[in-house]
Amino acid sequence: MDTEGRIWRRARGVLPLAAPVVFGALAEVEERTMALEARAFSAPGRQTLLRVPADRPVHRAIRWAAVLALVAIVVLRATGRLG
């Protein structure tokens, strides 16, 4: 595969590889889909969580602070106060 030179030259080198790569990926996706279906992937309802992460008040406060900070930055930026 030609990896040097002008962009059209590199594209010409990549194109022949595109079909086998794409078709191979699609075939793999099909088999993985069936394998996951065979392991009840599409079962309705809530899944079991083996590890439930701790969620203390300080964690919740940080999450809310991050959301508020994001909104504040967007507003400040939109109103031109952030430069």
């Binding site: 793999e28 279906e37 065979a38 392991r39 899944q47």
Partner: protein, 271 residues
């Protein structure tokens, strides 16, 4: 209690010819039925049909009847079928969920999808790892295993759903002799200890000779030979059907061809 296929004919979506025709098959719990045949004879399609993924997930047209313990697969949803009939493919890598950090979590993936209580999930995972004999792999990264180990993890992942039947599509085809021995030994143990009915598609007839009770040989989507494993695997028509007989059968023929007498004692001594 059994998987029963009656007058089954299946055609893939968009295909002009049927991949399976006139299939009659019965698999009871505790029995191992081997399936052999040349490439394109319909073995993998049979696996998808028996497990209900064809036409349930991949489409196509199914005629006849496929029943698991008396219930038509076409009337059952895939996640419900998964709890009755587990399916294992050839390639261990494409069977991993790619969402887990350890083998333990990978095996727990199916039971977690069912929303079972954590204690039940943990119990099933240790049972499945024990049934396959890979408890020591529990903390390992599932993407960093050998082919044989990966296939055993995939097998344990299917077993954790506690299916009454297992459908295995050439589980040793991408394994070296050591990996093949690992998987074959695990299958023999599962058949013996869990009472699961196993449909085993396998090119390696030595594996079938080792663990199958009956063998079915497919040719162009139809059953060409069927019967007790020892009888079918010694059938002279096997080669014409594109299936290599087990080593013991080939050796016995070679011994007889050279004018010597083949005996069970000789076979045992060689083994």
């Amino acid at each position: 209690m059994a998987i029963e296929l009656s007058a089954v004919r299946y055609r893939y979506a968009g295909a002009s010819a049927a991949a399976l025709v006139s299939i009659e098959l019965r698999l009871e719990p505790g029995r191992v039925v081997g399936v052999a045949g040349a490439d394109e004879s319909g073995k993998s399609t049979l696996c998808l049909v028996v497990a209900g993924l064809a036409p349930g997930v991949i489409g196509g047209r199914l005629e006849g009847s496929v029943r698991i313990d008396g219930v038509e697969t076409t009337a059952t949803r895939p996640h419900e079928l998964a709890q009755h009939c587990g399916l294992l493919f050839q390639n261990a890598a494409t069977q991993l969920s790619n969402t887990t950090a350890t083998v333990f979590e990978e095996v727990a993936f199916g039971p977690c999808n069912l929303g079972l209580p954590v204690a039940e999930v943990v119990g099933r995972v240790w049972w499945a790892l024990g049934a396959v004999g890979i408890e020591s792999l529990a903390p390992r990264d599932p993407t960093r295993l050998s082919g044989g180990q990966g296939q055993l993890v995939a097998l344990a992942s299917v077993l954790a759903l506690r299916p009454r039947y297992l459908v295995l599509d050439e589980p040793t085809s991408e394994l070296d002799p050591a990996g093949t021995r690992l998987v074959a030994a695990a299958l023999a143990r599962i058949a013996r200890e869990t009472g699961a009915g196993i449909l085993l598609v396998e090119h390696k007839t030595d594996v079938l000779a080792q663990i199958a009770d009956e063998v079915v040989v497919l040719e162009r989507g139809a059953v060409a030979l069927s019967g007790p494993a020892a009888t079918v695997l010694a059938d002279p028509r096997l080669v014409e059907l594109g299936v290599e007989p087990p080593a013991e059968v080939r050796l016995a023929r070679a011994v007889r061809a050279s004018g010597l007498e083949w005996s069970a004692a000789l076979a045992e001594a060689i083994e």
